[in-house]
Symmetry: C2
Subunit: 222 residues, 2 copies
């Protein structure tokens, strides 16, 4: 059974950058603008930044310039729409949201390792949609994670090992995974059929392993 | 096939109180304190209020007194712990969260129709847990809904009709429902296997019907 080790430590609160997992690109999505120091630092240190257009005005107001702005342009101030016309990438597809448009843009340009910030905290159905889309991005070949003001979401498939801090609060959300088991977590897993069932677990040491067949999301709380 | 009509209009932004759906009790949960006028009004007009203890200090600071405070008491200020000792209901069960303790308390005392406010907006795994627990409360016989700063979550089973405003944004989250179909929504439903698939739909008129076998959540955005 294949085992890969996941080091969300590259996004840990302590800030240690392990094993070169710094993202190739960062997406600032249309949720609440981050306030936690970690997503703010990830945004500040991004090598390539894509702003969904609902977030671009605030990003620009802080004296920064994104590499690309994605959306239908409607959420941008007229001033910024004109000033940044050369980097605005209009996508009119009504079937996908701006976060997905940004991921597709990056994938088409060869980016693989991306981090999404600012994707949660407003309308709850948008939050649920944005979080669950991580599974689709993984399925399309992207190495993606989401960093919020409260923790990190990592989509995963099959058996995988994760770095953690002893005592760190961990939640697991199954997307059809079967034979779910954990090593190194405080409470046993099972084949969940409701979201709450995998929440509020805890890492017992500096790493844990999820064993299963199928797809799931891991949330590592700060 | 049984059809019941759901009137979230009792919680509508316009505030019309239809068909006596005013809740018998309101739970103020441990998420972000509401700021939208609707959950605030529901809280202000509650006939019976249960505060999860993480929210009680703020509720009390506004000059209000809950009927019951539920939790382990740890999140309460020492001053309020003493002052409100007579209404604090300590539940030490580590297997459930405070929101569920509050629902169980109310169920045991014969309450059925309850509204939960302040349950989202902090840690995303808590938000996901709290939202999905609505399904369990429904299964236990409670008539429950959650009102956030952005909309209303209603748990439902099998075919059911919902009141809406024309153009209102609607999201459907399946919890194992099969043969999912809609009448009166802009986009067709199917047997979803990821959360995002049922988001961003729209009511075409003043009511819509979900047809299926099984359990699901409806989110009606303000």
């Amino acid at each position: 059974m294949e085992e890969t080790t996941e080091h969300p430590a590259s996004c840990s609160v302590t800030g240690s950058e392990s094993v070169g997992l710094k993202p190739e690109a960062v997406i600032l999505a249309n949720g609440e603008y981050p306030v936690h120091p970690l997503p703010l630092r990830i945004l500040a240190e991004a090598k390539f930044t894509v702003c969904c257009d609902g977030a671009a005005d605030e990003y620009i107001a802080q004296g920064k310039t994104p590499d690309i702005i994605i959306g239908d342009g409607d959420s941008l101030s007229p001033e910024n729409r004109e000033r940044f016309a050369s980097i605005i990438h209009y996508v009119s597809d009504q079937e996908t949201n701006d976060q997905t448009k940004a991921v597709r843009y990056l994938r088409q340009r060869g980016f693989r390792r991306i981090t999404i910030v600012g994707a949660t905290g407003k309308r709850e159905d948008h939050t649920l949609g944005n979080i669950s889309l991580l599974i689709e991005y993984m399925r399309s070949g992207m190495d993606v994670r989401m960093v919020t003001d409260y923790g990190i979401f990592v989509p995963a498939r099959n058996t995988r090992r994760f770095a953690a801090q002893p005592g760190q609060q961990i939640s697991i959300f199954s997307f059809g995974a079967s034979e779910l088991q954990a090593e190194g977590l405080a409470y046993p897993l099972s084949d969940f059929n409701n979201w709450w069932q995998g929440t509020l677990n805890q890492a017992k040491s500096a790493e844990f392993t999820i064993r299963c067949q199928g797809d799931y999301l891991v949330f590592l709380a700060f």
